[in-house]
C-alpha cells in the first residue's frame, strides 16, 4: 500500500470533507424540498392527525404554501442585507412537466415557446387561469362549497367550488372556469370545465383549446396538502396530462394579502427573445 504524502493527505481530507458536506447538503435539501415530488413519491406520513369538519370530511381550511423552511424574518430599517450571503430559498419553484401534444400542434407550441416574451398572456398581467394559477393559497371550506383564494403576480383570484353540484351552463367561459367538487373518500375531487382558450397551461407555449377539462385532487394528511392535477384536452393533446404532484404545507404564521396591481412595463424595452422560463 502506497503511503500518501502529507500534502496529499491534506488534499484528501479536504476532498472528503467537501464530499461529506455536499452529500449532507443534498440530504438536507431533499428533506426540505418536499414540494418537488415527482412520480408520486410522497413525503413521510403526517405526524399530526388530519382535522375534520362536523360532517366528517377532512378540514382543508387554511393557508397553504409551497414555501420551504420557516418564514424569512423581516429586515429592519438600517439593517444590511446581502442575498449572496443569505441565499434565500424561501420559495420553491415548481415544474409541472409537459403534456404530449398531437403531432400537428407541436410546431405551434415551439413557435409560441420561442416568442414567449412577446405572447405569453401571463407575462402581460392577464389571469393565469386553471391550472396555471396553481394550488389554492388559501381555502375557505363549508359543507356546501369551498372557496379557493390566490395572491398571484397578476392579481387576486378566487374560485368557488360548489359541492355535489352540476356544471353551470348559463355562464361564459373564463380563465378559471367552473368548478364543482365531490369527496372520494379522503380526497376532494374538483372538476373544472368552461375554461376559455386565452390562457396557457404553463410556461413554454403550452396553449390549449376551449375543450380543456381539468381534474384536481386534494388530500390532506396532517398539515400537508397533497395536490394533483390532470389536464385533458381532446382537441390538442395526444393523451391526458398528469402534472407532477405537489405537497403544500399549512402556514399558520402567514396570511394571504391583497396583490398590488399588475402593470406591464417591460415589453417596450425588450431587445431579444431570451428568457428563463416562467414555470408555474
Amino acid at each position: 500500500m502506497r503511503r500518501l504524502g502529507m500534502r496529499s493527505r491534506v488534499t484528501t481530507v479536504a476532498v472528503i470533507t467537501a464530499g461529506i458536506a455536499c452529500l449532507s447538503l443534498a440530504l438536507v435539501r431533499a428533506q426540505a424540498g418536499a414540494q418537488g415530488k415527482q412520480d408520486g413519491a410522497r413525503a413521510a406520513t403526517a405526524s399530526v392527525a388530519t382535522p375534520r369538519l362536523a360532517d366528517g370530511h377532512p378540514d382543508l381550511n387554511g393557508q397553504w404554501h409551497h414555501r420551504i423552511g420557516p418564514p424569512v424574518p423581516q429586515l429592519k430599517p438600517g439593517q444590511s442585507y446581502d442575498a449572496a450571503i443569505a441565499k434565500p430559498i424561501g420559495i420553491a419553484q415548481f415544474n409541472p412537466g409537459r403534456p404530449v401534444y398531437k403531432p400537428e400542434y407541436v410546431a405551434k407550441v415551439k413557435d409560441l415557446d420561442e416568442r414567449q416574451v412577446q405572447v405569453d398572456p401571463a407575462w402581460y398581467c392577464q389571469p393565469p387561469g386553471v391550472p396555471r394559477v396553481g394550488p389554492p393559497q388559501k381555502i375557505v371550506q363549508t359543507a356546501k362549497e369551498l372557496v379557493f383564494l390566490y395572491d398571484d403576480l397578476n392579481g387576486n383570484f378566487f374560485r368557488v367550488v360548489r359541492m355535489n353540484a352540476q356544471h353551470r351552463t348559463d355562464i361564459e367561459a373564463s380563465a378559471h372556469g367552473d368548478s364543482i367538487g365531490r369527496w372520494e373518500g379522503e380526497t376532494l375531487v374538483v372538476d373544472v370545465t368552461n375554461l376559455d382558450e386565452t390562457t396557457w397551461l404553463s410556461d413554454n407555449g403550452l396553449f390549449h383549446s376551449d375543450k380543456t377539462h381539468v381534474i384536481e385532487r386534494l388530500r390532506r394528511e396532517g398539515d400537508t396538502l397533497h395536490y394533483d392535477v390532470t389536464v385533458e384536452d381532446p382537441v390538442v393533446f395526444a393523451e391526458p396530462w398528469k402534472q407532477r404532484s405537489r405537497d403544500l404545507k399549512l402556514m399558520k404564521d402567514y396570511e394571504i394579502e391583497e396583490a398590488p396591481y399588475c402593470s406591464e412595463r417591460d415589453a417596450s424595452h425588450l431587445q431579444d427573445l431570451s428568457h428563463h422560463g416562467n414555470l408555474r
Binding site: V15, A18, C22, G36, D39, L75, Y81, L153, P260, L279
Partner: protein, 168 residues
C-alpha cells in the same frame, strides 16, 4: 436527487470511521475523478429549476453594472416588478429621472423579508443614495437593481445579475 429516496452512506465513509487508512487502499483513483464527482455533486445539489416572470436578459445587460447616484423620489410597489425612481443630477446640475426595477412585492417580502419601508430608508431626508444596476440594453434611464447603498453605509444587495438563480 429526488426527495423521498433513501439516502445511504457507504460503510467506511461514515464520519469518524477509518477514512484515511481506507483511502490509502485506492491509490489508482485519480484526484481528477474525485474532483469531477464533487463538482457534479455540488452542481446537482445547487441547480435550481428555471423560473422567472419576465425576460430580464432580454431587457437588461447582465454583464454590465452601472452605478447611479440620486435621490429616491418614489417607489411603485406593483406587480410584476417594483419600480424605484431616482432624481439623478448630471455634471451641470440638471436632474432627470432614472427608473430602477426589481422583484415583485410578494417575492420581496416572502423571499427576502424586504418591505417598502425598509427599501425607502430615510426617504424624507432626500439623501443621495448609491444604486448599482444592470442597465437596460436599449440605453434608456432604466436598470435592474443589484445593490442600493444608503448614506449611513448600510446596503441591500439583491443579486449579482439578471438571469442568475437569484434573479428569477
Amino acid at each position: 436527487m429526488r426527495p423521498g429516496r433513501k439516502f445511504t452512506v457507504a460503510p467506511g465513509l461514515a464520519p469518524g470511521g477509518p477514512l484515511l487508512d481506507n483511502l490509502g487502499a485506492y491509490p489508482e483513483m485519480p484526484m481528477k475523478t474525485i474532483f469531477a464527482a464533487l463538482v457534479a455533486c455540488f452542481v446537482t445539489v445547487f441547480a435550481l429549476p428555471a423560473a422567472a416572470h419576465h425576460s430580464l436578459t432580454a431587457e437588461f445587460d447582465p454583464n454590465s453594472t452601472v452605478t447611479v447616484k440620486g435621490v429616491m423620489t418614489s417607489i411603485e410597489w406593483i406587480n410584476p416588478h417594483i419600480y424605484i425612481y431616482f432624481d439623478v443630477a448630471d455634471k451641470d446640475g440638471k436632474t432627470s429621472q432614472y427608473a430602477v426595477e426589481t422583484f415583485p412585492p410578494n417575492h420581496m417580502r416572502s423571499r427576502y423579508g424586504l418591505t417598502k419601508q425598509v427599501l425607502s430608508g430615510d426617504f424624507d431626508k432626500k439623501q443621495t443614495l448609491v444604486v448599482e444596476v444592470n442597465p437596460a440594453k436599449n440605453g434608456k434611464p432604466l436598470g435592474w437593481l443589484t445593490k442600493i447603498t444608503y448614506p449611513d453605509g448600510h446596503f441591500i444587495k439583491l443579486t449579482a445579475e439578471p438571469g442568475s438563480p437569484e434573479a428569477r
